[in-house]
């Protein structure tokens, strides 16, 4: 239910960086597993709110990053598991979460000169 305001933020960031470009054709998003966002939902709102802007019809690309754990004892990297944080290699819990929080616009593709 929060994807509408999120999608509005994506549009305003894209428009700001596009400057005077004729159109925005692609938007590349990086979304970590722990960001509670639904791709389809963002896409649904996108089609509505981008209408009439230079970003109308732009393709949204979602790069999903898994939540990864790193064992500080044996250096193993492994995906977050939902029921246990124990390292699968050495069975210690001397582990930290190293990725999965990401939530940003990485780049945009435009036609025409942005300046």
């Amino acid at each position: 239910m929060h994807e509408l305001s999120v999608t509005q933020n994506i549009l305003s960031i894209a428009l700001k960086h596009a400057g005077q470009a004729e159109s925005i054709t692609d938007i590349y998003l990086v979304i970590g597993q722990l960001s509670s966002m639904v791709d389809d939902c963002i896409q649904f709102y996108w089609d509505i709110i981008s209408e009439g802007t230079i970003a109308q019809g732009a393709r949204l690309h979602f790069k999903r990053l898994p939540a990864m754990m790193h064992c500080q004892h044996c250096q193993t990297e492994y995906p977050l598991h939902e029921t246990s944080f124990v390292c699968p290699t050495c069975a210690t819990t001397n582990v930290v979460l190293v990725s999965g929080d990401e939530f940003y616009v990485e780049s945009i593709q435009v036609q025409g000169d942005p300046i």
């Binding site: 999120v6 933020n9 960031i13 977050l80 246990s84 929080d101 940003y104």
Partner: protein, 214 residues
């Protein structure tokens, strides 16, 4: 033509949150953002805190809820200056809502402001409000697997309150397993075990809260 951007999608909310923080700092008010699933006991913890600290600190409360002003009325009865925000279905509070509420509060007459977020364990921690500390209220009947199922929320807080510890004899709950999950996600985070019903463990929580203002 490709234009590199690398801008956080919630950066506009973060900017407003920074402005809220400046507003609180200018007035000398310490703000906390209290999050939890529905029924964990946020409002009860706020009531107990108001009753116990009301004589020492001037307390304000911002209540976020989908609808109704029941929680704000409870906080007012317990002695706080309270404002209700009805999000109209939105699943979390955002910084702009807090900005509007701060303008309605007599900040110069407050020491501590408690924001009660919408009951939800999925997303509130992603939206900074400008408060100084984020606190998650967990409770024994929710089960010991919550840090594992909702890691994002347990990552984004500075303290975890485990409420309803008086129910431990009646509910299967592995405290070690629960705390291990929290410790991995959020090393060194403050943990308080208490019961709003019996008052057990409240003292440590209140002492920590009072210490935050120094």
């Amino acid at each position: 033509m490709n234009i590199p951007v690398v801008e956080k999608i919630l950066s506009s909310n973060d900017t407003l949150a920074d402005e809220n923080r400046a507003m609180l700092d200018a007035a000398g008010v310490f703000g906390i953002n209290m999050m939890a699933s529905p029924g964990a006991g946020k409002t009860s913890l706020i009531e107990m805190t108001l009753q116990r600290l009301g004589g020492e600190l001037r307390l304000g409360v911002i209540e976020g809820d989908l609808a109704t002003s029941l929680d704000a009325e409870r906080a007012q009865r317990a002695g706080a200056t309270a404002i209700q925000i009805n999000t109209g279905g939105n699943c979390h509070l955002e910084a702009y809502m807090i900005r509007d509420a701060l303008r309605q509060l007599p900040l110069s007459e407050l020491d501590l402001l408690i924001v009660e977020n919408v009951g939800n364990l999925v997303c509130p921690a992603n939206w900074k409000l400008g408060t100084h500390k984020n606190i998650l209220v967990a409770s024994i009947p929710e089960g010991d697997d919550k840090p594992y199922k909702y890691p994002g929320m347990y990552r984004g807080v500075e303290a975890v309150v485990i409420n309803k510890v008086d129910l431990l004899p009646y509910v299967p709950f592995r405290m070690d397993y629960f705390k291990q999950g929290i410790e991995v996600l959020n090393p060194g985070v403050e943990i308080f075990s208490l019961s709003c019903r019996t008052g057990e463990g409240m003292e440590a929580w209140l002492t920590w809260l009072k210490g935050l203002r120094q």
